[in-house]
């Protein structure tokens, strides 16, 4: 509420000291939030010999990144993660935008039933369906393959994203669609040419979230993939046990895994914040 003059915080103090206090507190909070990531970046830049004394040395190197990128399995994991996240985002949007639209624009028993189904399945813990899903994908012969990881990833977001999408469409006035239909547009035309363009900010927000969620996902990949389709989160977790002593290499891999997510989020932040506000 920028226009309102607020009652002052700590009213007895002079203005400059209040400002300094505020700035210091803010800096401390930001530091606390960013510290783990900063520390990881610092560790990734230390040579093998200096990694245990990150706080002391002054030697820095990019060698860790070169060494990690020389490992075929890690490069493969990065490519797999990127491909699966991108495909999952595209298909997941195709499926959930229309389902969210249905939830928002229709009332009556059909819509209520679908909403109830979505809410109930949203509550089911992943582990309850991922354990037996292992058998399903094995019996269909798609265990440890792209498609076997991609389809469950699309399925997992249906509930949450339909729910969010319903909220977004609720915030958009449907009268434009009615007007289009009176002018001779079919229902599909009204949905595709009128509703979707006006929901574009929200859809962008959803795309960013979906890409991040899939890139960061671990449990599905752990259970549904073996050696043929390594993805980055599983490879990282294996690192902790197998390469427990090479913290510099681990940190370098982790930094590279963070990088795409950061870029997506940095460019997408605008859409996420705008999208969630509708």
């Amino acid at each position: 509420m920028p226009m309102v003059t607020r009652p002052n915080f700590l009213p007895g103090l002079p203005n400059w000291s209040r400002k300094t206090f505020f700035a210091l507190a803010l800096a401390a909070i930001c530091f606390a939030f960013a510290f783990p990531v900063l520390w990881l970046i610092l560790t990734s830049l230390r040579p093998e010999s200096g990694v245990y004394y990150v706080h002391r040395g002054t030697e820095f190197t990019l060698g860790n990144f070169a060494e990690v990128l020389g490992q075929e399995r890690i490069v493969e994991a990065f490519i797999n993660s990127a491909v699966i996240s991108t495909l999952a985002t595209v298909f997941s949007l195709l499926v959930t935008v229309s389902s969210g639209y249905m939830l928002s624009r229709f009332t009556g028993p059909g819509a209520r039933l679908w909403f109830g189904t979505i809410y109930v399945f949203r509550c089911v813990p992943y582990i309850s369906w991922v354990l037996p899903l292992y058998f399903v994908v094995q019996s269909w012969g798609i265990y440890d393959s792209y498609i076997g990881l991609l389809l469950p990833h699309i399925a997992v977001h249906i509930c949450f994203f339909s729910w969010l999408m319903k909220g977004f469409f609720d915030g958009i006035d449907p009268s434009m669609e009615y007007a289009a239909m009176i002018d001779g547009c079919s229902r599909w035309g009204a949905f595709i040419r009128v509703a979707i363009p006006s929901a574009l900010p929200a859809i962008s927000a959803l795309a960013v979230l979906c890409w991040l969620f899939t890139w960061n996902e671990f449990l599905f990949a752990l259970i549904l993939t073996g050696n043929r389709v390594p993805v980055i989160t599983v490879v990282m977790a294996q690192f902790v046990t197998e390469m427990g002593l090479h913290w510099n290499l681990m940190a370098a891999t982790a930094v590279m895994a963070l990088l795409p997510a950061f870029l997506v989020a940095l460019f997408g932040q605008k859409y996420v914040i705008r999208g969630l506000r509708i």
Binding site: P2, M3, V4, R6, P7, F9, I29, C30, F33, P36, V37, W39, Y52, V54, H55, T96, S98, S99, F106, G110, W114, Y119, V120, F121, R122, C123, P125, Y126, S128, W129, L131, P132, L133, F135, V136, L151, I154, A155, I158, C159, R187, W188, F191, L212, W215, F218, L219, I223, T233, A237, V240, W247, A251, A254, A257, L258, A261, I273, L276, R277
Partner: protein, 290 residues
């Protein structure tokens, strides 16, 4: 048989419904079937054993006295912590100050970090020999602690990691909520010279309540099934003392190779959260209508 409108509705949800049927409903049915059978991964006899697996899960002392209390404690503390910090940060970001955009970007950093990577960072920071926390503690004259091999410190670190990860989520949604509140009541309060605390307590909090409740419900359901950070930080250890529900079911099915019992555990947990979810949904509904 169907009118044009029904056909349209059906087409809109058909792809989503089909995917859910194949990858959620079908596995759940198979899991339910497996939970009644003697289904070891190395020897799938699949003989019917009735409720034996359920009985052994709900009478397992590890499940009753460690896993369930851990899960509920974790759920409550993690949601409460992230809510309090997230709300404070949302209030902070809601007033303009120089550098606000930068601060906002920094505070949203954890949202982009994969839980597995967060767990690896925290593991390194709390490493008992070389972690920065122990180095600093020793430098100022305290003893370093083996953080991740003591039950309560390990639990605390898992909790802290989770709060760090999910606070931005609360901040984002609550900030969006704050910015959509009407301005008039706040202007009236300012004219009357109301204190900051009273504005917060009697205006902001009640008006924000629907948003808060929705955030809490979504987050509570997710916190119940936390897996990644526990797996990477402690693997459920020391012993099994930091195991949460998802890890318990995973260990039964894939490390003890007993899919039948693992499925039974997963279904028991699923039923618990389903009941909680329905109760919470009722609550949200009532609050939203009030």
């Amino acid at each position: 048989m169907f009118g044009e409108q029904q056909r349209f509705m059906l087409f809109l949800i058909a792809p989503a419904a089909l995917l859910m049927l194949l990858f959620q409903v079908l596995p759940i049915v198979i899991g339910a079937n497996a939970s009644f059978r003697d289904w070891a991964l190395y020897n799938p006899k699949k003989t019917w054993v009735g409720l034996d697996h359920y009985h052994s899960v709900i009478t397992d002392p590890a499940f009753l006295y460690v896993v369930l209390p851990n899960t509920f404690l974790f759920m409550i503390l993690s949601v409460a912590g992230a809510l309090v910090v997230g709300l404070a940060l949302a209030l902070l970001l809601n007033r303009p100050f120089p550098g606000q955009k930068l601060v906002q970007t920094i505070l949203l950093v954890p949202l982009m970090v994969a839980p597995v990577i967060a767990a690896i960072m925290i593991r390194w920071i709390f490493n008992d020999q070389f972690g920065i926390v122990n180095v600093v503690l020793e430098a100022i004259g305290f003893d370093g602690q083996p953080w991740l091999v003591q039950r309560w410190s390990a639990f605390g670190i898992i909790l802290l990691t989770d709060i760090w990860l999910w606070t931005p989520w609360f901040t984002l949604l609550l900030l969006a909520g704050l910015q959509s509140l009407p301005k008039e009541p706040f202007e009236a309060a300012a004219i009357d010279g109301t204190t900051t605390w009273r504005v917060f307590r009697f205006l902001t909090l009640p008006m924000l309540r629907p948003v808060i409740v929705v955030c809490v419900v979504i987050r509570a359901i997710d916190a119940f099934r936390t897996f990644d950070i526990v797996w990477t930080l402690t693997g459920g250890g020391p012993g099994r003392s930091t195991e949460l529900f998802s890890l318990y079911a995973y260990v039964l099915a894939f490390l003890n190779l007993d899919l039948g019992r693992g499925s039974a555990a997963a279904i028991v947990g699923g039923l618990i959260i389903l009941v909680l979810g329905v109760v919470m949904y009722r609550l949200v509904d009532r609050i939203a209508k009030a």
